[in-house]
């Protein structure tokens, strides 16, 4: 089944006429995603390799029935674009942009609380890939095939690294979801794990976290209460010193809060196995998958 993106996705790309926007929109289309429109104010009426461009999301939705938006505009315009997509009735907004001001994200997040019909993934995320069905974003799809492992991660290339290790161990993926590295993500580990728990295709869940904030600790509590499927975690940043932002705006240890060690402990305390390297994550997953097969046989 997969989650969030699939054959029913109708994608509208904000920033489709920019270099990156065009490149990735076309990649997504080549993969099989229905890319139905783009939005660039002032370029309405043009097209990008046959994909019609509109001045506003409202026009794009009215004319093409888009239900998913990919936000690929620079930081100073991104929050506004997210809000515009929501206002136009888009149900799923995937914000790739990195560098959006934290206060913008705070406002967007709090505004979206009032609209359960619109889900935000990201910002500062690589997007969502459901192998064999659809790819929205910049995840390199060729490494992954369909299967039963759901992946949710705060990072980009580290996700591909872990995903690749899983693939080399013979695993396929239901969906790979990047929730992004910013301090106020639109969706949390909990939000995505909840979807994986309800998804028939997903039998094993892998979560990749990192220093900063308390999302992994909160996920640990949620998993104990609500998740029956096995979960394996990886946490990056054991070696990161406090007080220094490690690349992602959200990856900073403040005082004693948000350390990798604390996150690993919190997860292990709730029965989540934590791999110490990406390779170990795949090894643990292989062990758990073996158990799944054995229990299915009974």
């Amino acid at each position: 089944m997969a989650i969030l993106v699939d054959e029913g996705t109708k994608l509208c790309v904000s920033g489709i006429t920019g270099r990156e926007g065009t490149f990735h929109a076309m990649n997504n289309r080549r993969y099989g995603t229905q890319v139905v429109s783009g939005v660039t104010p002032g370029k309405g009426g043009q097209d990008v390799e046959g994909v019609p461009v509109f001045n506003t999301f409202h026009d794009a939705v009215a004319e093409t029935g888009a239900n998913t938006a990919m936000i690929f505009v620079p930081p100073r315009f991104a929050a506004d674009s997210i809000l515009e997509a929501e206002d136009a009735g888009i149900a799923l907004v995937i914000a790739i942009t990195e560098g959006i001001p934290a206060h913008d994200e705070l406002r967007v997040y709090n505004h979206l609380l009032g609209n359960p019909g619109c889900r935000l993934i990201g910002p500062n995320c690589p997007g969502i890939l459901s192998p064999g069905k659809a790819n929205v974003g910049i995840i390199p799809a060729s490494f992954f095939k369909e299967g039963n492992v759901g992946v949710v991660s705060r990072s980009g290339t580290l996700t591909y690294q872990i995903g690749n290790e899983l693939a080399q161990s013979g695993f396929g993926n239901s969906s790979i979801v990047g929730i992004g590295g910013d301090p106020v993500p639109g969706s949390s580990f909990i939000d995505i794990i909840e979807l994986f728990e309800a998804d028939d295709e997903t039998e094993l869940i892998v979560m990749a976290g990192e220093i900063g904030g308390s999302a992994e600790e909160e996920a640990a509590d949620f998993i104990e209460e609500h998740v029956s499927k096995p979960v394996v975690a990886y946490i990056a940043g054991f070696t990161a010193p406090p007080g220094k932002t490690m690349g992602h705006a959200g990856a900073i240890v403040s005082g004693t809060k948000g350390t990798a060690a604390a996150k690993a402990e919190a997860l292990e305390a709730k029965g989540v196995r934590v791999g110490r390297t990406p390779t170990e994550v795949a090894e643990i997953a292989a062990g758990l998958a073996g158990e799944l097969v054995r229990s299915a046989d009974r």
């Binding site: 001001p101 206060h103 705070l106 909160e218 070696t239 690349g247 705006a249």
Partner: protein, 425 residues
């Protein structure tokens, strides 16, 4: 981005938060002139991005010109816990009846600003939180609604501030929130917020952290970067648009993607190595970007080996290999490099590197293998010593060096190479 105290106070003043009058000074002459202007007694305060200034002797009251000069001379240039004092803030002395505490924090977990107020100011707020948590009044503000008068009253009455200053304390909080929201701060802390004997309320200290991602729309704030406090490498990296954090060790690290780089640091540490830095080169495979990144890493003389960890998604490994070959042609590094290319076109990338047969460059296929290799090489290279950057050197590890340098580096090497029981494969 952290601001110095006086920068925070100037920011407060822009939003009407009452602060004592003062002036910055970076020389003794300027400090004395400022003190004369402000009048006596005044306070000479070290401006550094670290706490504990008072204990270190960085905050002194001057009763007259002689003392002002004496204190300025002592404080300017002093080292406070690793930070050099380049500037002081000369401030009118305040007469303090009470010391309160107020702060606004960007609370990620709640996804709302958190406002805190306490009458237990002037001391470590973490201690108050531990010993007497009820002494801190706190509430979250809906960022779409903003800070309302009733929020101020609620905090003031809950914290138990003196009845006659409930209004001015509330007004100060209101303006503080204004500053927090409009300047896009992650933290605004006033400790102490004082009540004077003539019942005025003022911010006696200012600790402000701004969101680095917001600076593009606050050019005044963008200029406040404290260049004096930066590492030369971090400065260099910033100028080149690279994300770099300096650490303590001797294994230079470069990768594409912040999570992957953090992971690389962890894996190297598990292999017994000590990372020298974090550097995210992003999605670039262009020679110029790689050259610049390598230069930044190598400008840290402690680096005795470098690990290049690339997972190519959209980025193609053969392009990265070409970029590397060009970069190495320019730089001719004298410390060993371990290059690990995985992902799109990885075999082609590794083949190109092998063909180029660069001295001091070793290719590895896996992340774990690469980490172990670089730690080995860092150890050997450290005890063999390295030549100063830019001079040609015979290829391979274990070249001889000056005796003095070898001793300390050998110590570092053995510390680095002693691996704790780590990962099995």
């Amino acid at each position: 981005m952290d601001l110095l105290e006086y920068q925070g106070k100037q920011l407060f003043a822009r939003h009407g938060v009452p602060v004592p009058s003062g002036a910055p000074a970076s020389t003794v002459e300027q400090a004395v002139a400022a003190a004369d202007e402000i009048g006596y007694p005044c306070v000479i305060k070290a401006q550094v991005l670290i706490g504990g200034r008072g204990k270190a002797g960085g905050i002194k009251v001057a009763q007259d010109r002689t003392e002002a000069e004496e204190h300025a001379r002592a404080i300017l240039g002093m080292d406070i816990r690793g930070f050099t004092v380049h500037e002081v803030w000369v401030e009118a002395a305040s007469d303090i009846a009470s010391e309160y505490y107020a702060s606004i924090v960007f609370d990620r977990a709640a996804k709302k600003p958190l406002v805190m107020l306490s009458t237990q100011g002037g001391m470590d707020i973490e201690e108050v939180a531990d010993n007497n948590p009820d002494a801190i009044a706190r509430l979250h503000v809906d960022p779409l609604l903003g800070f309302q008068d009733f929020h101020a009253r609620r905090l003031a009455f809950e914290a138990g501030v003196d009845a006659d200053v409930v209004r001015p304390v509330g007004a100060l909080l209101n303006k503080l929130y204004d500053a927090f929201a409009n300047e896009e701060a992650m933290l605004v802390e006033v400790n102490p917020m004082i009540v004077t004997s003539d019942r005025k309320v003022m911010a006696l200290d200012a600790k402000v952290t701004l969101d680095a991602n917001s600076l593009f729309r606050h050019p005044d704030n963008a200029e406040l970067r404290d260049a004096g406090g930066e590492d030369p490498q971090e400065q260099m990296a910033k100028e080149r648009g690279l994300t770099y954090v300096k650490l303590d060790g001797n294994v230079g690290i470069l990768g594409n993607g912040a999570g992957l780089v953090m992971s690389t640091l962890d894996v190297v540490a598990q292999a017994g190595g000590k990372p020298a830095n974090f550097l995210d080169a992003g999605g670039g495979s262009k020679a110029e970007a790689i050259t610049q990144a390598v230069e930044v890493i190598l400008s840290d003389s402690k680096v005795s080996a470098v690990l290049f960890n690339i997972f190519g998604g959209i980025t193609r490994c053969d392009e990265v290999a070409k970029g590397l070959i060009e970069a190495f042609d320019q730089i001719k590094p004298t410390v060993p490099f371990v290059v690990r290319l995985d992902g799109t076109n990885d075999e082609e990338g590794r083949r190109l590197l092998a063909e180029a047969d660069l001295p001091n460059v070793h290719a590895e296929a896996t992340m774990l293998g690469a980490a172990k290799r670089v730690v080995e090489l860092a150890g050997e290279s450290a005890s063999g010593g390295g030549e100063p950057e830019g001079e040609t050197v015979p290829p391979g590890e274990g070249t001889e060096t000056e005796m003095g340098a070898a001793d300390t580096r050998a110590e570092a090497a053995s510390a680095a190479v002693t691996s704790p029981p780590g990962e099995a494969g």
